[in-house]
C-alpha cells in the first residue's frame, strides 16, 4: 500500500469514528526535538514496545505514572505520522523467533510455513485502525525485506491461508483466538495448524486463558513459549499495576500508593483504609481500554464502595464474558492523582501524557506521543460521579481531546518543561531495565532474591577494592 492509499484509508476510518493520532505526527518536529531519544539499556536483549501514561501531580508538582501498557496500546504513530519504527522493531523480533524456533535456517530459507499474528481490540471497541492497518502493512514490508526469496501474504482472521511461507494475519482478538491452538507438550502455538512466530498483542494471551486454551500458570511463570509475544517478558507485569509502581522507586517518577485485594470484601476494607489519604482509583487486573476503572471518595459508604466494585466486575463481564471472573482479581486500588489543568472553554480538564518506550538489544528509544484530555472538565466536588471528568483513556475520545506530546504550547499549558519530559523519558527507560532485571532473576518486593540493607543504601554490595589482585 502506498503512503497516499494509507492516508486515504485513514481518512475513511476517521469517518467511522477512528482516533486520528496519526494526524499529530510530525517527522520534522520529531527530528528537531531529537525524538526518539536513545537511552542505554545494556541489560536489554530483546525487542518490544511499552506505553507509559504519566501526569504531573497538581498537588506535589511531581511526575507520577497511572500505568504501563503493553503492545496492545497505541500512539506510536503520533511521532512521525506512521508506525514504521515500531513495525521494524516487531519484524526484528519475528525474525529472531523464526531462527530460535528452528524454522529459519542459517541460509535464510524458511523450512516451514509460519504465521505472524496481529490482533486489535474487540471490534466494538476498535477505534485505531488508522494506526493498526498501516503498521501491519509496514511490518509485512519489513519482514519481506528481511526474508528475500520467501513468499508472504496478508490475511484477515476469517481467511483460509494460502501456500505462502509467511502468513501475516490480522483481526480482532476473539476472531484470532478462535483459530489459535496451543500444544502443551511441544509448548508451541499454532494458527490454523501452522506455527506462530509472532504475536503482537498480549491481550490475546488473556483471551486464550479466558477461553481455556492456555494455562495461566505458564504466563505467570514466563514460560519460554511466550517468547513469540512482542514484549513477552512483560506479559504478566502489564497486568500487575501494583508491581509497576514499585519499579518506579529511585526514578524521577514517584510511585503511587496502592493495594491489591483478592475479593470484593477485601477491596472494600482496603479502599476504606486508603481513603483516609484521599480518593482511590480501583482497577480490575486483566483488562484494557479503561474497562471497569472506577474512583471512590471518602464521603461514600462501604455499601456505596461495594456497589462500585460490583459494577466494575459487571463491566468486565460485559466485555469479556462470564468466564472473565478469574481475570478480574485481584482488584487493585491506587491513590487518585489530580493532574495539573488544561484550560478549555468549559473549564480545566485533567490529562495524561503517553510516552512510548521502544526497546531493542542494548538500548531504549523513548518519545512522547499524545497528551490526552478528559472529555469533561474536572469538578472537585462531583468528579467521581462521572468517569469522563477524570479518565482520559483511548476508548470514546474525541480528536480535539488529543494533543501532540511534542507541542511546546500544549506542554507549557500543563506545566511540563523540557527538563521534565527528559526526566520522564529517562525514568521510563530505567523502569524498563529494572523490570527486565526483576522479571529475569526473581527480584522485586516479594521476589526470591535477597537484597540487603547495604544495597538499599546505594552502596556497592561488593567493594571494588575487596578483590584487588
Amino acid at each position: 500500500m502506498t503512503v497516499d492509499r494509507e492516508r486515504l484509508a485513514r481518512i475513511i476510518l476517521s469517518g467511522i469514528n477512528d482516533i486520528e493520532e496519526w494526524r499529530l505526527g510530525d517527522p520534522a518536529l520529531a527530528a528537531a526535538k531529537g525524538y526518539p531519544r536513545a537511552f542505554p539499556g545494556e541489560l536489554i536483549d530483546d525487542w518490544g514496545i511499552l506505553f507509559v501514561d504519566i501526569v504531573l501531580d497538581a498537588g506535589s508538582g511531581k511526575l507520577v505514572c497511572h500505568e504501563v501498557n503493553g503492545p496492545n496500546a497505541v500512539g506510536s504513530d503520533a511521532l512521525t505520522g506512521d508506525s514504521t519504527l515500531r513495525a521494524a522493531n516487531e519484524a526484528s523480533h519475528a525474525i529472531r523467533r523464526m531462527k530460535e524456533l528452528g524454522y529459519l535456517g542459517t541460509d535464510g530459507q524458511l523450512g516451514t510455513q509460519v504465521v505472524t499474528i496481529h490482533a486489535h481490540q474487540h471490534w466494538q471497541f476498535f477505534r485505531t485502525g488508522g494506526e493498526f492497518y498501516p503498521r501491519v502493512a509496514a511490518f509485512a514490508d519489513c519482514l519481506a525485506d528481511k526474508l528475500p526469496g520467501q513468499s508472504l501474504a496478508c490475511y484477515a482472521a476469517g481467511d483460509a491461508l494460502g501456500d505462502e511461507q509467511v502468513s501475516v494475519v490480522m483481526g480482532d482478538v476473539p476472531a484470532i483466538t478462535a483459530n489459535i491452538a496451543f500444544d502443551a507438550e511441544a509448548r508451541r502455538f499454532t494458527y490454523r495448524g501452522r506455527p506462530v512466530v509472532f504475536m503482537g498483542n498480549p491481550n490475546l494471551l488473556s483471551d486464550l486463558i479466558r477461553s481455556g486454551k492456555f494455562p495461566r500458570a505458564l504466563r505467570d511463570s514466563l514460560d519460554p513459549c511466550l517468547r513469540i509475544l512482542h514484549a513477552w517478558r512483560f506479559s504478566g507485569l502489564i497486568h500487575d499495576k501494583g508491581q509497576q509502581q514499585e519499579l518506579f522507586a529511585n526514578t524521577a517518577i514517584r510511585p503511587l500508593r496502592h493495594f491489591a485485594a483478592s475479593s470484593p470484601e477485601e477491596a472494600v476494607a482496603k479502599t476504606r483504609a486508603m481513603l483516609a489519604e484521599g480518593p482511590v482509583v480501583l482497577k480490575p487486573s486483566d483488562t484494557s481500554g479503561g474497562v471497569g476503572v472506577s474512583v471512590v471518595v471518602a464521603s461514600m459508604s462501604d455499601d456505596d464502595i461495594r456497589g462500585v466494585i460490583d459494577r466494575l466486575i459487571a463491566d468486565c463481564r460485559r466485555k469479556y464474558g462470564e468466564n472473565s471472573d478469574a481475570m478480574i482479581l485481584p482488584i487493585r486500588g491506587f491513590e487518585f492523582v489530580r493532574s495539573t489543568g488544561f484550560a478549555l472553554e468549559d473549564g480545566e480538564h485533567l490529562w495524561d501524557l503517553r510516552i512510548a518506550i521502544q526497546y531493542e538489544p542494548g538500548r531504549v528509544l523513548a518519545y512522547p506521543v499524545t497528551l490526552r484530555l478528559t472529555p469533561e472538565a474536572f469538578d472537585p466536588e462531583h468528579f467521581h460521579e462521572e468517569p469522563r471528568r477524570w479518565i482520559s483513556n483511548v476508548s470514546g475520545r474525541r480528536e480535539t481531546l488529543l494533543r501532540s506530546g511534542m507541542d511546546d504550547a500544549v506542554l507549557a499549558e500543563v506545566g511540563m518543561t523540557d527538563e521534565m519530559i527528559e526526566q520522564a523519558m529517562q525514568a521510563c527507560a530505567r523502569w524498563t531495565s529494572k523490570a527486565i532485571d526483576m522479571l529475569s532473576r526473581g527480584g522485586g518486593k516479594g521476589g526470591g532474591v535477597f537484597e540487603d540493607a547495604r544495597e538499599a543504601l546505594d552502596e556497592p554490595f561488593y567493594h571494588g577494592e575487596k578483590f584487588r589482585i
Binding site: E42, R430, S440, G448, E455
Partner: protein
C-alpha cells in the same frame, strides 16, 4: 580409592583419590584429542541446562554462551581464529567450541544502576563447572581454554561491552591420543597431578594441615 574405571580404549587419566567422589569428577580431564563424532543436540541442551542452574550472587545469572558447531555457518571458524597458537594446534579436533562470557557489572534492582561485580568470574566458573560435569556425565569431554583473544572475540561477534568474553570450551567425544603430534601426545598421556588435601585444607591456623585427613575415623 578411585570409584570408576576408564572405558575400554580410553586413556586412564584418573587421579588417585582417598575419599569417594562423584564419578564425573574423578573421570573429568581435559583432552586435546577428540573424535569426529558430533555431540548429540540433546546432550548439548543438557549441558547448558546444567549451567543455567548454577548459583550466582543475587541470582544475577551473569553467564552467556556462544555455541559454535562445526559445519554450521562460519561461527566455529571465527571462534577458532580467536584462540591462541598453542590451542589452535589441537582445538579444531573438537566438533564444538563454546565461548563463555560474563557480565562485568551487576545491575541493582534498587538503584536501577550498575555496580561493581568482582565475583563475576567466580560465578562464571560455577556455571562452566556445572556444564563440564554434566558433559562428563553424558560421556563427553571438555577442555577449558583461557588462552584466546577476548578483545578479538568481542569485536568479531559484536558482543556488548557489558559482557566479558572469558573462556572457550572445547567439547566432543574423546579421541585416541596417538592421533596427536608427539609433543601433544606426551601431554595427553602425562599423569594428572593434584596437591594432597593436607596442602589445601587448613585448620586451627593458616598453613596448618587439618587433622581431618589424618584421623582414624576418616582413614
Amino acid at each position: 580409592m578411585s570409584t570408576a574405571q576408564p572405558a575400554a580404549g580410553e586413556t586412564d587419566r584418573r587421579v588417585d583419590t582417598r575419599y569417594p567422589v562423584l564419578p564425573a569428577l574423578v573421570d573429568r580431564w581435559s583432552p586435546r584429542s577428540f573424535t569426529d563424532r558430533e555431540p548429540e543436540p540433546a546432550k548439548l541442551c543438557s549441558m547448558f541446562e546444567a549451567a543455567r542452574l548454577a548459583p550466582s550472587a543475587h541470582n544475577t545469572q551473569p553467564t552467556r554462551f556462544l555455541l559454535a558447531r562445526k559445519g554450521r555457518g562460519d561461527v566455529y571458524r571465527r571462534l577458532f581464529d580467536c584462540l591462541d597458537d598453542h590451542n589452535q594446534e589441537w582445538a579444531d579436533r573438537a566438533p564444538v567450541l563454546i565461548l563463555a562470557s560474563v557480565t562485568r557489572r551487576r545491575f541493582s534492582q534498587i538503584t536501577g544502576e550498575f555496580h561493581p561485580y568482582p565475583h563475576c568470574l567466580h560465578d562464571l566458573g560455577l556455571a562452566v563447572m556445572s556444564l563440564t560435569v554434566q558433559a562428563h556425565h553424558l560421556g563427553l569431554h571438555t577442555h577449558l581454554m583461557a588462552a584466546f583473544d577476548p578483545e578479538k572475540a568481542q569485536e568479531e561477534f559484536a558482543i556488548p561491552e557489558l559482557f566479558l568474553p572469558a573462556m572457550v570450551i572445547a567439547v566432543g567425544y574423546l579421541g585416541p591420543s596417538d592421533a596427536l603430534p608427539p609433543d601433544l601426545r606426551e601431554k595427553e598421556e602425562a599423569p594428572r597431578t593434584r596437591r594432597p588435601l593436607e596442602e589445601l585444607v587448613f585448620e586451627d591456623g593458616w598453613g596448618e594441615a587439618s587433622a581431618l585427613f589424618g584421623s582414624a575415623e576418616t582413614a
